[in-house]
Symmetry: C2
Subunit: 124 residues, 2 copies
DNA sequence: CTGTATCCACAAAGATACTG
DNA sequence: CAGTATCTTTGTGGATACAG
């Protein structure tokens, strides 16, 4: 075997990436924010079936990784807006590529789970 | 607000992608296989700290999603080789992009966890 | 409205031993 | 060598209530 060394740093950063955004909710949160800032309650509606607690932790982790920014307005009732940062904007084309890959590779995907969010939005 | 509808199918395929490969081990397995087929035991060495049970499950899921192929040779001792498929080959450039994004975005990443695999390889 | 606190359920992961 | 079986442990997510 000629391969004596695997260029592992690549795999390593990949692991880091997946640890950072590779879970159930974060990609969809980032995707939703790609269309503009959103408030906490709106995200709660748009992300199907997510609970407030989980949404809260996800957003906090994204904030820690500097992938979303959080802006609180001193009003009553309070208003908080979440938006993408420079770092996460660099991620968008890649997320899009991943999405397109899945679309091509698994054309039989069931889109039913999207209906909920669409419905909620149309009610708004 | 002018946005009344979010193009969710994109987010939906994204969710599907993350459900398929967005976990702790699969990206690194796919990455390692990108350099050529590997046997079960070799993967077990190369993927740091993974247990045989977990590796087995991950490989089986990848096989179900047609992202790796499994070839068993009728020898004693048995030999089983795992390799990428056409589907997962299309994913490689994207994984590379993700890796590069992390490298640029988080230059402070700790590469310590790669040492194990490197070390194992040099012993080979 | 935007969260936190608490408790609970379940799935995923690890350790170890064993089989063909 | 390439796994499986079993058991234990950990982690993640959900429900509900409540606070600023």
């Amino acid at each position: 075997m000629s391969r004596k060394y695997i260029d592992n740093p690549n795999a390593c950063t990949l692991v880091h990436t997946m640890n950072t955004i590779g879970n159930k909710w974060k990609p969809i949160i980032l995707y939703l924010l790609s269309q503009g800032p959103l408030r906490f309650g709106m995200l709660n509606l748009l992300v199907p079936t997510i609970s407030k607690k989980v949404l809260s932790t996800q957003l906090k982790e994204l904030e820690n990784d500097d992938l979303v920014s959080r802006t609180a307005y001193a009003e009553t009732p309070p208003r908080v807006e979440y938006a993408l940062t420079q770092k996460s904007k660099g991620l968008l084309p890649i997320l899009k590529a991943l999405s397109e890959w899945a679309e091509i590779t698994y054309p039989e995907i069931d889109f039913e789970q999207c209906r909920i969010a669409d419905h909620q939005l149309k009610e708004e």
